[in-house]
């Protein structure tokens, strides 16, 4: 035991030493070390955010293109041929292969590159060290590498758009056999390989990032920052990181097996296949395409929460700050996030109800899926009760946070429909599913992200974003998103399939042609308004109103105790000590009491 003792005695002090190492950094910085290969978590956060914004524009543009096809299946747009060339848009009509590539890349880009890397990459990097009271991440080098792996993944993914046979087009889930057989479609050739390579690099980036987030939250909390005093953002980002670290490797394994099926003649996912395009029966035998679906959705479902949890955490923080009230049910919030994180691993097969799964097994997954309604409902209840009789300040961040709650409720309710295997047999692969997950995961998380950007922009750049543009952005996006996705529920209930190029051949769906046009027009408007946000973002970086006070929102958390433009190391001098939780708003007659203030003698406990 002697070595044990000596080890422990020595380790207790390590992380103080570690802090001091970083403190000296920020004197000799060049352009390259400050803006490009930066190891400062705040700069890495900005890199993730801006890369995410670029990806969001690209991914959004894809959806505008395929909405043109869905809204106007019988019209041609010659300008598309001018821009995209005669292979993808011959005669101004989007060609089937290109349409499938568009929906595939829209999904991939938005789910992974925007709402995973862009969202948690940005806010985990920005907020974890600032809110737990650390000089930087545990390993700034790994943190930098995580961004650059993401960057290389982005380059490979972008490159796949320009190969002759086009990008991957088998859906964002890349189900074999389609994705495994290059002869099966154009998009299953080089584009699919580049897609897999980009995703593998992406998993590496997520792993490096996640390990850093976890160890920073566990090990580098400042003095007094007990786990139960952590802001809910940090709890949310912690669970997100754990989900990522434990679920992405399974996807990675699935991809490796898929690569072998593509190039090494194996039959992991392949069996009994006759390929129409080459008129050949393939020799592959004994594999299972369903196996891939299990591996994919074992990541795929936690991925939903990897996207949603950071938004939940930020929304909790922004709602309570702008309601000037303590968060309602702090421990219930933490507990329900924990429950969501556990359940996230136990529900994946509800994406596979129609794969011929044993109905008994299906019913188990129905039960586990519907259980998620409990923690979700607790969180909604707590958000609403936090708002209840609060002294609300409708900042843009606050509006988007309230919008998040709205979308989370309306999208969550339809989850109860599709979570039931019996109803799902009817709704599977229809526009109803599109409506459900876009509202609850896509739009809701985007609202969380916007809320975060508006709220923490002053911390990131020392300036405010323009409020008028922000309000226009909010209202048009809120109304537009509902106008886009609400009607899709009706289309889906009527059986209108997703992923189809053109449904006008079915008389039963002709009634929706006007509605489809309407959805397409609204989505173009909403996309244009997002460009307004992008303009506001970049304009405000350089020309926005300057932040004059250290704590513009009157917030309790530690990031507002740093200088207005914090350098590498965040705090000048000592890191502040924490004496209370983050939610003492409107307490004992005081508007807010920062975490750094010691608990007074006569103060009531929360």
């Amino acid at each position: 035991m002697s070595h044990e003792a000596s080890l422990h005695r020595e380790v207790v002090t390590t992380h103080e030493v570690h802090h001091d190492e970083h403190h000296g950094h920020h004197h000799q910085e060049t352009f390259i070390t400050k803006y490009v290969f930066s190891q400062d978590h705040k700069m890495i956060a900005k890199q993730f955010l801006i890369t995410g914004i670029i990806w969001a524009i690209i991914g959004g543009l894809f959806s505008v293109l395929f909405r043109l096809q869905l809204g106007y299946p019988d019209q041609s747009f010659p300008i598309l041929e001018d821009i995209l060339g005669s292979k993808w848009a011959a005669g101004g009509k989007i060609q089937p292969e290109f349409y499938y590539a568009l929906v595939t890349m829209h999904g991939t880009v938005l789910v992974f590159f925007v709402l995973t890397a862009g969202l948690s990459g940005t806010f985990a990097n920005l907020l974890i060290p600032l809110q737990v009271g650390a000089r930087d991440m545990a390993s700034p080098l790994m943190n930098m590498l995580s961004y650059w792996f993401f960057f290389i993944a982005s380059i490979v993914m972008i490159a796949s758009l320009f190969v002759q046979t086009g990008p991957a087009s088998g859906g964002w889930t890349a189900y074999p056999p389609l994705s495994a057989l290059g002869d099966a479609s154009e998009g299953s050739k080089t584009g699919m390989d580049l897609w897999l390579v980009a995703m593998a690099l992406f998993v590496v980036s997520q792993l490096l990032a996640g390990l850093n987030y976890i160890s920073t939250i566990l090990n580098l909390r400042t003095k007094g920052m007990a786990m139960t005093r952590l802001p809910l953002t940090i709890w949310a980002l912690f669970f997100t990181a754990v989900l990522g670290v434990l679920s992405f490797p399974v996807l990675f394994s699935g991809f490796i097996l898929l690569l072998f099926d593509r190039h090494a003649g194996t039959s992991f996912y392949l069996s009994d296949i006759f390929l129409a395009s080459t008129q050949k029966a393939l020799p592959n035998e004994g594999g299972s395409a369903i196996l891939y679906q299990h591996l994919f959705w074992f990541l795929g479902h936690p991925e939903v929460y990897i996207i949603l949890l950071p938004a939940m955490g930020m929304v909790s923080e922004i709602l309570t700050t702008n309601a000037r009230k303590p968060i309602f049910g702090y421990m219930a919030m933490v507990g329900s996030m924990f429950a969501i994180a556990i359940l996230a691993f136990l529900v994946w097969a509800h994406h596979m109800f129609v794969t011929g799964m044993n109905p008994f097994l299906g019913s188990v997954f129905v039960l586990l899926t519907l259980l998620i309604a409990v923690p979700s409902a607790i969180k909604v209840f707590n958000w609403l009760t936090t708002l209840w009789r609060g002294n609300l300040r409708f900042t843009p961040g606050m509006l988007f946070a309230i919008g998040f709650v709205s979308f989370f409720i309306s999208g969550g309710l339809t989850g109860i429909f599709v979570g039931n295997s019996t109803i799902d047999i009817h709704l599977h692969d229809t526009m109803f599913v599109i409506a459900h997950f876009h509202i609850v995961m896509g739009v809701a998380s985007f609202f969380g992200m916007f809320a975060g950007v508006y709220h923490w922009f002053p911390k990131m750049y020392g300036r405010y974003m323009n409020n008028t543009l922000a309000y226009i952005h909010f209202w048009i996006t809120l109304i537009g998103a509902y106008l886009i996705f609400w009607p899709m529920h009706y289309e889906g209930l009527a059986g209108m399939p997703r992923r189809y190029l053109d449904v006008s051949g079915w008389v039963s769906f002709n009634q929706f042609s006007g509605l489809n046009r309407f959805i397409s027009i609204v989505s173009i408007i909403v996309f244009a308004v997002q460009l307004l946000f992008v303009f506001n973002f970049f304009y405000s970086i350089f020309k926005g109103r300057r932040v004059r006070t250290q704590n513009p929102w009157g917030s309790n958390t530690l990031e507002w105790t740093t200088p207005i433009n914090p350098g590498h190391g965040n705090w000048e001098g000592e890191i502040p000590e924490v004496h209370r939780w983050a939610y003492d708003y409107g307490k004992d007659g005081r508007d807010f009491i920062p975490q750094t203030e010691p608990v007074g003698k006569n103060e009531s406990s929360h």
């Binding site: 080890l7 207790v12 490797p249 097996l257 003649g265 591996l295």
Partner: protein, 223 residues
């Protein structure tokens, strides 16, 4: 377990590591969990496919050769491989132990033994792969029949080469890490730091790779 710190110390209240380890070790443990899920996914995939197949080759028939001794020795060679790897784990423990005692010479000696063990294991694997390859086994081709004599699917060899290959890649990176540790030890990096924590983290990885082999060994050679 005795702690050198006061019993009433509040581990979770911030300002120190709640597990009394530095961040690198926390990262290593989480990385190992992550990697366990990678291997778990592989092995569960293997189990699923094998369970769904009508038959499967008999490992006693497939793995029965020993270099220099010919065939007819079921599982003898893989037992030697497993023995080598487990012994290399023992020498790794000794290296970590010596690191705690700040005994540089013993660290160097045991690290070298561990590296030799790792390289020996990889060499054995290379021999086994080559041997199987010459028998006609590779990704996408399986010369072995099922236990009941019927024709087998190629998934026996597909999974064998993929999973043992992935494990071998882990052993290879472990050897590289250990060589780096050895160079750092020889350059007195840890002496100057005053502790051999890095060796301990490399040791965690090495033991994990060994542990994974136990499962891979069980799944492919024993069952």
């Amino acid at each position: 377990m005795s702690h050198a710190v006061p019993a009433d110390q509040k581990w979770w209240s911030g300002g120190k590591s709640p597990f009394n380890v530095e961040y690198g070790k926390v990262m290593m443990w989480y990385f190992l969990m992550s990697d366990a899920f990678t291997f778990g996914a592989f092995l569960i995939s293997y189990g699923t496919i094998r369970f769904a197949s009508n038959g499967w080759p008999d490992p006693n028939e497939v793995f029965q050769s020993f270099p220099g001794l010919g065939s007819g020795l079921p599982l003898a060679f893989v037992s030697l491989m497993t023995f080598i790897l487990i012994i290399s784990s023992v020498t790794m423990v000794l290296a970590v132990q010596a690191g705690h005692a700040m005994d540089k010479k013993a660290v160097v000696r045991n690290l070298i033994w561990t590296i030799i063990g790792g390289i020996a294991f990889l060499s054995c694997q290379a021999w086994e792969w080559t041997h199987l390859y010459h028998e006609g086994a590779w990704w996408g081709s399986n010369p072995f029949t099922n236990m009941d004599g019927t024709k087998a699917s190629t998934n026996f060899t597909n999974f064998f080469f993929t999973i043992t290959g992935f494990h071998g890649f882990h052993v290879f990176s472990g050897v590289i890490i250990n060589i780096i540790m050895l160079i750092m030890t020889l350059n007195n990096v840890f002496e100057r730091k005053g502790h051999y924590l890095m060796i301990e983290k490399a040791g965690l990885y090495w033991h994990f790779v060994d542990l994974v082999w136990v499962f891979v060994f069980t799944c492919f050679y024993l069952i």
